[in-house]
Amino acid sequence: MGKKSWGKKAAGGFAAVMALSMVLGGCGTNNKQNAEGEGGKKEVSVSIYDRGQIPKEEGTYADNRWTRWINGNGPVNAKFIPIPRNESQQKYSMLFASGDAPDLVLEYDTDFLNSLWAQKQLLPLDDLIANNSTEYKALLEKVPALRTLGTKPDGKLYLIGMVTKPEVLGAMVIRQDWLDKLGLEVPQTIDELYAVADAFANQDPDGNGVKDTYGINLSQFATYYIDAMFQNEMFIVENDQLVRQFDRIKPAYDFKKKLFEGGIVDKDFLSDKNGQKAEQDFASGKLGIYLAYSTVISKNFDTLKSTDPNAKVTAMAFPETQFGRFGPDFNPALQMTGAVNANAKDPEAVMQYIDFMVTPSTVETFAYGIEGENYTKESDGTFKPIDEATNETQMGYTNDYRMFMPKYILDTNTIGGRPADSTDPIDREWIAIAEQMDKLYLDPEHPHPGFTHAKFRPSLDKAMTTTFNDGWNTMNDTMAKSIVSGDAYTVDQGVEDVKKSWYASGGQALEDWYKQWYQDNKDSWIFMKELYTMKFE
């Protein structure tokens, strides 16, 4: 008897484990099947970034009040495929390889979309839009640049994009109270910038008798902003030619090296890769001139005001150098954000989805919410939120559904990320700074250097992309070494090495290609200045 009962028990145990795994394994697929086929609408699948930050009571990125709203009000049934934000490209590659990729692929990285195009995974949209679209077609007519930027070298349109208002991204702020205390002016030239930064670091602007302040930061993007002041971009337009320049590297790095050796910047700036140390320095009132994203400055501005209520901050223009006067990086009005899978089962239905999402009423719903639930309409036509906190919970995660929506049609009720009608004194102070930034940094007279915005460089083949990226990385790594090495490795040596490695890794071919491309496209492409002056109304 013993033998048999053991066998039975063990077998029973395994059966239970297997059955459990079946049950647990099976339920996901069943749920999905039930969700399909509501109301007999056509099915499309759409990617959606999963950032892991949707409030629990709202559901998931694949199923929440907004996905239900889309399916309830839209012409098609959209099935949302969550794509983990940080591994989006791996996930997409996997889905494409196995034929499971969504019909509509939304991705911010245009290089990745280009690589999908190169692998023939994308559907040309020209005929589809001509025959089946109304809304997106109208948008293309209104904003022809969307077509220019979405067209690939084979002359067909593949990408869809969004249209916003241009926004400040990078910024440069200075401690006005320190300037006042030391009797200095906001620096206008690069030499004045050095003098002021030096004074901030060495003349004890916070008055605590200890040398514990920094003049300026060089961490994270700050080093690129100083490059921008010297027009130190890889490719610039000179004498109507698109050239790879090397003569701006030296002045830019001489300046950085001088800052480093003068003890004006944090000696450990190279290890502050994500800029956190600089954030702390600024927030605790130890940093005089701060170069960072305006959103980062805004966040730390609040902390600064609570550590030191008397702190006063002003936005400043990039100082002038021998190469002219430039501006920080900004968010241009256009961005290509999506494409249609070449194997989409029903491209017409995908187009219907795109059209529905770019319809002004949909755009408004996704910006302000549902009338009576999230906002009320004032008599002057403006939208008044009913409860900010509820809206944050219910709508804080909707941005990724809006990736290709024309947001320029919306009236914004925030300035610099804060409610325009806020009565909080710190908000008011920041709003004044943000308005100043808009004026300084969205000025076509002082554009960001480079022939066009990084998002709109022409697509390169794989080898040339490698050359480009290696050239960029080598330049930054080699030159960073020259900042911190004193006489052991001078800036001149650095520039020599940068040049050498550029030509050793196929730089000449890329230069020739770019030169030719510029001659062929200089009348049709979107260049930097145009990005500042574009108007859609």
């Binding site: 033998k3 053991w6 990125y61 911010y108 993007f221 990086d329 990320g417």
Partner: protein, 291 residues
């Protein structure tokens, strides 16, 4: 017994180095724990090192309210418990017959199994296989493809081989069959190695990240690694993509919440390890002496 001064110095240096090594593992965890219990402003100002400043539990309550961490925790537990259970069941069932000398074709089968260690298919073939088996989208894709790890199988097999055959003979004379022998004789004698291997499998399942990312599409079914990774990686991603994806920055979870996520993620393993440690050392050792 008295130790010479040379020995004292030797032990002193040893302890010093080992303490340093231990601290280098411990301090980051203490720092993360402190961050998770501190106010945001203190964190921004860089005041938090090893002791929480402005002590608060908000990060944890926010984590529970605002993210699906409870569900993810439950999923991690299911993945780990069921996965480890299946792994152990099948590894034992494979290792036991291979360890019996009277088992037919045992050499050939062992070789055939070892042979599979030489090759692994790439990611995409694996995915296509899982898809054709209908495993994509459910945890089967996490449990079945790696059901038996050959390495663990071999460790277990050599352990079983070391159990004296006389015990088995005695049991057989008393009338027990194969099931009773394995369950009542072999397994109780193998607890150290069973615990060790279960821990190997368990940790792998608990930390399983990439497979969940690739095979599971329903966010309700993500585990802790994916959820926490989603929160913490935004920071490193930011420097490259913030320009292309401004939202990545705006929606960045505060550092305290990210730290709380990390703590929730590592805590269960921290709690399990001490209880299994005594087996762990023994199991590793015994498996390794005779191959």
């Amino acid at each position: 017994m008295k130790s010479t001064s040379g020995e004292k110095v030797f032990y002193g240096v040893n302890y010093f180095i080992l303490v340093l090594a231990a601290l280098s593992c411990l301090l980051p965890i203490v720092h993360i724990l402190a961050l998770s219990l501190s106010g945001n402003e203190a964190i921004t100002l860089g005041k938090v090192s090893l002791w929480p400043q402005d002590f608060t539990w908000t990060a944890y309550s926010k984590l529970i309210e605002d993210t699906n961490i409870v569900g993810a925790f439950r999923n991690s537990v299911v993945i780990t418990l069921v996965g480890t259970g299946l792994n152990m069941a099948f590894t034992i069932l494979a290792a036991y017959p291979l360890s019996r000398k009277h088992f037919y074709a045992r050499r050939f089968l062992t070789l055939a199994i070892v042979f599979t260690m030489l090759f692994t298919a790439g990611l995409i073939p694996n995915y296509l296989l899982a898809k054709s088996l209908g495993l994509v989208g459910n945890y089967g894709a996490l449990w079945l493809p790696g059901l038996v790890s050959v390495y663990n199988l071999l460790v277990l097999r050599s352990f079983f081989e070391n159990i004296p055959e006389e015990l088995e003979d005695a049991a057989r004379i008393d009338g027990s069959g194969e099931w009773r022998i394995i369950l009542q004789i072999v397994l109780p004698l193998s607890i150290p190695v069973i615990a060790t291997i279960a821990l190997f499998y368990g940790v792998a399942h608990w930390n399983s990240f990439f497979n969940v990312l690739i095979y599971i599409n329903d966010p309700e079914r993500f585990n802790l690694s994916v959820l926490v990774q989603n929160m913490i990686q935004s920071q490193s991603l930011m420097s490259e993509l913030a320009m292309l994806d401004p939202d990545a920055f705006r929606k960045l979870a505060p550092e305290s919440i990210r730290s709380a996520g990390i703590i929730v993620m590592i805590l269960p393993m921290l709690l399990v390890y001490p209880f299994l440690q005594k087996y762990f050392v023994k199991g590793m050792l015994i498996g390794s002496v005779k191959g």
